[in-house]
C-alpha cells in the first residue's frame, strides 16, 4: 500500500517536472552545473568499472568457450554484453551511488534547513530550480557515460583476450563487427537515458520529501540509492523484453 502511494507521488512529481520543463526559461547554467556533477565527475568510476568488467567478461567467456574451441567469440561476447546490458546497468548503478545519493542528501539538507522554503518564498519554484536541471542533466549524461563504459569494457576485453590470452587479434575484432550492430548500441543508450531519469527522479523525490533533521537526510539518502537501484534493475528486465 505504502509503495503504491509512493509510486503515485513520484509520478506526480514527474508530471510536475514535465510541466515546468516546457515552461521557459530553462536555466541552462544550472543544467550545465549538474551535467558536470553527474557526468564529468563520474567518468573516473565509470572508466574503472567498465574496464574491469570487460576484462573479467573476457576471462570468464574464454574459460567457457575454450571447452568447445570457440575462443574467437570472446570479443563479440564482451562487446554484446557491454553495449546491451552491462554498460548501461553498471553505469547507472555507479551514478546512482555517486550522484543519486548526493541529490537526495543535498535536497534533503535544503529541505530540513528550510532552504527549499526560502526558494518558494522568493517566488522561485523549487521543482523548476532544483529538480528539473538534475533530471535533464542525468538523462543527457547517462548515455554519454555509457558510451565511455562500453568503450572501456571492450578495450579491457581486448587487453585480456588478445594480450593475456593470446586470441588472434584480427578474429577478435572481426567477430565484434560481425555480431554487434548499431542497434545494440542504441538500445543500450536508450536504457541508459531511462536509468538516468529513474535515478534522478528517485534521488530528488527522496531528498525533496525529507523530514526529521540529519537523521532524516541519512535515511532519505539510503532509501534513494536502494529504491533507484531496484527500480533500475527491474525496469532493465522489461526494457530488454521490449527491445530485443
Amino acid at each position: 500500500m505504502e509503495n503504491i502511494e509512493e509510486m503515485g507521488k513520484i509520478l506526480l512529481l514527474f508530471i510536475s517536472i514535465i510541466s515546468w520543463m516546457v515552461r521557459p526559461p530553462l536555466k541552462l547554467r544550472l543544467i550545465f552545473k549538474q551535467m558536470e556533477f553527474v557526468g564529468v565527475k563520474s567518468i573516473y568510476v565509470v572508466v574503472l568499472t567498465g574496464t574491469f568488467t570487460g576484462m573479467v567478461l573476457a576471462l570468464q567467456s574464454y574459460y567457457g568457450f575454450r571447452m568447445f574451441s570457440a575462443e574467437s567469440l570472446v570479443g563479440s561476447t564482451v562487446a554484446l554484453s557491454m553495449t546491451r546490458e552491462l554498460g548501461p546497468v553498471l553505469t547507472a548503478l555507479m551514478v546512482t551511488a555517486r550522484a543519486g545519493s548526493a541529490m537526495a542528501a543535498e535536497l534533503g539538507t535544503m529541505r530540513v534547513t528550510e532552504q527549499i522554503d526560502a526558494l518558494s518564498v522568493m517566488a522561485t519554484n523549487p521543482v523548476k530550480h532544483l529538480i528539473v536541471p538534475r533530471v535533464i542533466a542525468s538523462v543527457i549524461m547517462l548515455p554519454i557515460l555509457t558510451i565511455v563504459s562500453d568503450f572501456m569494457g571492450i578495450i579491457g576485453g581486448y587487453f585480456v583476450g588478445v594480450m593475456v590470452l593470446h586470441i588472434n587479434k584480427g578474429i577478435f575484432v572481426k567477430n565484434i563487427t560481425r555480431y554487434v550492430d548499431l542497434g545494440d548500441l542504441y538500445n543500450g543508450l536508450t536504457k541508459a537515458a531511462v536509468f538516468g531519469l529513474i535515478l534522478s527522479l528517485v534521488g530528488c523525490y527522496k531528498g525533496f520529501n525529507t523530514t526529521g533533521g540529519a537523521e532524516g537526510v541519512g535515511k532519505a539518502t539510503t532509501e534513494a540509492v536502494v529504491l533507484a537501484s531496484i527500480t533500475i534493475l527491474i525496469s532493465d528486465y522489461f526494457l530488454t523484453a521490449i527491445m530485443f
Binding site: T113, D117, N125
Partner: protein, 248 residues
Amino acid sequence: MIELVDVHKSFGTQKVLDGLNLRIEDGKTTVIIGKSGGGKSVLLKHIIGLLKPDSGQILVNGIDITTLNDRELNEVRKNFGMLFQEAALFDSMNVGENVAFPLREHTKKKEKEIREIVDERLRAVGLPGVENKMPSELSGGMRKRVGLARALAMHPQIILYDEPTTGLDPIMTEAINDLIINTQKNFNVTCVVISHDIESIFEIGHNIAMLYDGKIVEYGTPEVIKQSDNPVLKQFLSGSLVGPISIM
C-alpha cells in the same frame, strides 16, 4: 491588507492554530508574541502560503491564497520578503549570491547594479564586505543579518520577520530595530514581526498580537497592550512563572 479568518492547523494530533483570527493593517508593523512552541512561526508560514491551513481563509489584499495554484502563489509572493528564524541561507552560494538571488531571479538589473544593491543592503545590516564568505563561515547572528539583507533586497511591500533580533547583542539589536523601523517608514511597507524581546516589541510595533492556545487572545497598540489586564499577557510581559501559561 492581510486577514486570517478562523484558521485551524494541526500536525497529527497536535493542534497548533485553533480558530485564529487576525487582521494585519497595511503600512504598519504588527508584532506577534507568544510562548516558544506556541505556533508563531507556523502562523507566519501560513501568511506566505508555505503551510496550508486545515480550514479557514488567508486573505492577502482580498485574495484567499489557500485556493491559489503554484504559479498564482508565486505572483503573490513577489510582493513578500521573509526572514526565516534560522535564516535559511543557501549554503551552496556565498553571501553576495544569496542576497543577489531574488534580484537575479526576478529583475533584469545589470550585474553592476546588483552588486551595488548587495553592497548597500549588507552595509545596512552591519556586514560590509562579507560578500565572498560562505554561510558556513558566519556566526548565527551574522547569518540572520544576511537573511535580513536578502529579505530586503527586492524592496518588498510586505515583510515577514521571524525573530529578527534573537541571538544578537544589545547594540546590534538596536541597529536592526532601527533598520526595521526605517525600512517600514521609508517604503511604507507592511511588516509582521515575531519577537520575544519585550523592549523591541514596544519600540517597533504599531500593533501587538498575543498568540496563546492557537488563538489571538489580545490585540492592540503598545499602550493598550501595556495597560491590558489579560492574565496571559501580564504573565508573558512580566516573565512570571505563575499564571495561565505553563512551561510544560
